[in-house]
Symmetry: C2
DNA sequence: TTCATATTTCCAATAATATGGAAATATTAA
DNA sequence: TTAATATTTCCATATTATTGGAAATATGAA
């Protein structure tokens, strides 16, 4: 992961509403959530939600698919993992005691 | 870690210069770096650097100490880990959507 | 069709961040 | 002392991000 991509992803998560949106998406798994459901749960006006969803999508942290007249959003788990690995390697000195799921790929990647 | 703290920390790292600063601090380890050294390495004017260092400090990601006429900055590794843990808990931990998570049953390193 | 619902885009106002010169402050050396 | 160096604060400006109503677009239902 390049520095610039990390900055973009970090910036996408560095907002209360977007972090909340992302956490909802993570909780929803691969099934995802319709935009309207997110709007309802977080009490966000449609235009505001759309703006934040676009930010998350552009940052590579959310993926959308049209399903009927709904647009379903899912978390991009692969890129979330890349971000965590980047932070672990570059910001924690490679030390991460918790997540094996994050630490293992980092170890396999070796020096960077 | 509270959502608000996570947003603050993410925001602090979501800037090219600050991410670069933080990575320098991580590389410098416990010893840390004088502000002037950081300014020189990243070609940042004193006022601009000071602004970013303040952001990192306020976010709990950097610690400063006065040493003679220098101010030495170090990375706050503990808080960086907390941030990574927060992200893995909320953004990829606690579920099996990631193949890496499912594929690694606490194999190699010291778990948790 | 025509209507109802879902979502996005447009847009302009507002808010938040970033920039860096210049002055102020802090510390040491002479 | 006085001078020199290191860093921060002040402050005006510039840039970017956020907000949400209203209009536009998309799809399915009647």
């Amino acid at each position: 992961m390049k520095n610039k991509d990390a900055v973009t992803a970090l910036g996408a998560l560095a907002h209360e509403s977007r972090l909340a949106i992302y956490r909802l998406l993570v909780a929803a798994g691969h099934e995802g959530l319709a935009a309207g459901v997110i709007a309802e749960r977080l009490h966000l006006p449609p235009a505001t939600l759309s703006f934040h969803l676009k930010e998350l999508s552009h940052a590579g942290l959310a993926i959308s698919r049209q399903e009927g007249r709904y647009v379903i959003y899912t978390a991009n788990f692969g890129n979330a993992l890349k971000l965590v690995n980047y932070l672990t390697e570059n910001c924690c000195g490679g030390n991460s005691y918790l997540p094996e799921c994050a630490a293992v790929p980092a170890a396999a990647e070796t020096a960077n």
